[in-house]
Amino acid sequence: MNNYSHIGKSIQKIDSLALATGGEKFADDFLLEQALQVVLLYSPVAHAEIVDIDTSRAEKVPGVVDILTYRNVPRVLHSTAGQGYPEPSPYDALLFDRRVRFVGDRVALVAARSEESAREALEKIRVEYRPLEPLFDMKEAMGEDAPRIHVDDEHAKIPTVYEPKRNLCAEVKIGFGDLDGGFAEADYIEEHTYRTQMVSHCAIELHTACACFDERGRLLIISSTQVPFHVRRITSHVLGIPLWMIRVIKPRIGGGFGGKQEVILEPLVAFVAWKHRSPCRIVISRKEVFVSSRTRHAMHIRLKTGMMKDGTITALRMEGLLDSGAYGTHALTVLSNVGAKVLPLFNKIENMEFHGQSVYTTLPVGGAFRGYGATQGYFAFNQQIDMIARRSGQDVLEYIKRWHIKDGETSGVFRALGEGKEGVSQTIMSCRLSECVDQGAAAIGWSEKRGKRIRRAPDVVMGVGVAVAMQGSGIPKIDMASASMKMNEDGSLNLFVGATDIGTGSDTILAQIAAEVLKVPEEKIIVLSSDTDLTPFDTGAYASSTTYISGRAVYKCAIEIRRQLLETASRMLDVEMESLSLEEGRVVDRKSGRTLTCEEIAYYATYTENQFQIQASASHTADQSPPPFIAQFAEVEVDLKTGRVTVNEFVSAVDCGQPINPQLVEGQVEGSVLQGLGYALTEEYVFDSKGKMVNSRFWDYKLFGAPDTPRMRTIIVGSREDSGPFGAKSVGEIAINGPAPAVANAIFDAAGIRLYELPMTPERVWRKLREAVSS
């Protein structure tokens, strides 16, 4: 194995003590003197045109400073999706529009000197709506006579299929081989439709932003965002404020999971601040986060596989219908990912087709969510694999190990399907999925439990199930990250990164990467991240990019610092650079044995002769996106009388390349698993017949609490990805893909019923049990 001093060590997260003692600041913890309070009025109807807005009574409320509606804000079409430029999401949103497209779409804004005044004024705004036909069903929305949801000059920024006249906001179709021939030669066909629901990220920190001015009149935005640089760009575009006049700071962030990859609140506070030359802030409530921020896209996935008796898959067709809701944020890229992150996993299927459509409806808006389409796709895929293995009489674990993609192999899907456009072909260089399967199976006790239907009580049957998945590491040829470093005279270093730590620990692992290259203690790497004035660019915290892309930028930057350090030492010692080695805290001349501490070198460079600062910067983009792999196992108990499913234990065995910080890797996996179990079993948006969400509170939208959480185990199956920093791949998203299908497969193992729809509530399970009995 390797000899790292800093990599692969579970050092403490650099901000954790300050967080545990309450000193760190989140975006709403900056107390702005005299800040205007901003509140929003939302549409109570799913689809309507605003005929009139009467704000006259609201304006008279003492303390009210401004009321904004579609009448008095700039009309600039944009996408709120915090993605690279040009965004692959359509430009279909306005700050305020005269049309509302879902219950919760924003109608007006009140800025007032106090929140009470603002709320009082909100109550006094009278809006007259001309109702339009709502569309809650994707197939109806695509019908011939369906009303259009977007009727003006909405458009796509990139060449892609975008047809708002039929409520189609994205379409992707790829394929290869002879699909019909493949199905024709099959011994059996499996074809099923899987339905996944809308869910909320539920970061415990609410969404918030504030805006104020620095001493010289530039606008400072402090936001709970995953994408500070995209916030700056999009705010500038929408408001016409020059980009150079805006500074965005991301302080500590209380979780994101994709929910804060969206630029929704920042342009509003920026507009109010800019117009009134006054600081201002907004914090939206939990209910507003549920309804009016972003969700995981609900999907219908129809999966058809043809197979030979021995289990060989002769053809596969996946058809996805993605409910984008009222706006098209991430609708194209999430849709693409359903195929792109799932189908390469079984790369030996010769005849394949993926066809997806994203559809506008008058429901809350989908967006980025950890897993990003892969989660929806794997729910279908892993159940189908379980069926195929069973039908061919094989243990599903052996089946997976035989057919999954291996080192040195590729898949036609990589090239055919990227994020919203053609993909990038790549060869897998690090895959230990088979080892993940073996180690996870041993941990869960697969051979003792699978197919045994053990009963601990007369009506309670146990089963085990497995799911496998891959994800990516950043978006190839699109994501870019940069880092800069400077060395102080004591040998410590300031590390500036655009990378956005949203609670993942990225500041810590980036410091570990720099420390490993430069052989200094991590505490001497002083990290400053995510400040658009001070740190270099980074696309942000999404697409599992930070370790792999930002980490590599830090690595390159540190290599250049090391070169300067050695060069300075060579001048000081008057020896060739080649004879010098960097060891912990010092440079050694291998020939003479003479040494210099890094501090001596830095002092020399700073003060003594030919003075200069040891400093460097570097950027990184990648031509590939090496996938991490995971095998996840659920042991469940199904209560045959009530339909209640209890997860006893959940095991994840993950290949994320070299783990930079194993404890943080485990944290990412465990958090993903629990979020995935909520997706599997309890979480969903419930709407009334008018399209209003009726469970927008934690009382009614059930997150797992500590008492309900099953035993969880995480096994890190290390591999080495040479293109990543010290062999690392990503780990932030992958583990959310397995819980739903692993639990579904375990339910089948226990009770012989297939759940094609999420969440797998006691009622749905009970109905299936009853159907099974009656048939």
């Binding site: 545990a20 107390l31 970061a203 415990i204 500590r252 209380g254 609670g503 609490g705 008492p707 959480t709």
Partner: protein, 155 residues
């Protein structure tokens, strides 16, 4: 209304509207270590100790707490002199985004005051009022076990 609280041992004089919650007032007065996650008494981010009892400060009217002693996570320990529970959270990796952490630590403190040697089930039950979306609770439970062990041996 005018009133006074004792926050982390220090007197805090405040004026507030009758409808103001303790959460509103504490945050307004700079105690931003008390977090707002739902305002419905469900997430536990805003918990404090009110006369030693764990309460959701979003569910307590400031007016009803006048004159009373309030402890926030800053009252347990500081960056330079952390409480063993705070240190245990750091070491066990129980702090991810850290937003639920102040509430989790106060809930842990409240448990360990009553029960010095809680088992896993008792720990999980004590955290029932505190939601975490980052950790899956695994390392939070580990942290509490670690803190309990250290606090027992110290005493």
């Amino acid at each position: 209304m005018d009133g006074e609280f004792i926050v982390n041992g220090e007197r805090l004089k405040v004026s507030f509207r009758p409808a103001a919650t303790l959460l509103d007032i504490l945050r307004r007065e700079g105690h931003t270590e008390v977090k707002e996650g739902c305002r419905e008494g469900q997430c536990g981010s805003c918990v404090i100790l009110l006369k030693g009892r764990l309460v959701n400060s979003c569910q307590v009217l400031a007016a009803s707490a006048m004159g009373k002693e309030i402890t926030t996570v800053k009252g347990l320990g500081s960056l330079h002199a952390p409480h063993p529970i705070q240190t245990a959270f750091v070491e066990a990796g129980a702090v991810q985004c850290g937003f639920c952490t102040p509430g989790m630590i106060l809930a842990s403190y409240s448990l360990l005051k009553k029960n010095q040697n809680p088992d896993e089930e008792e720990i999980r039950k004590a955290l029932d009022g505190n939601l975490c979306r980052c950790t899956g609770y695994v390392k939070i439970v580990d942290a509490i076990k670690l803190a309990a062990r250290r606090m027992r041996t110290d005493e």
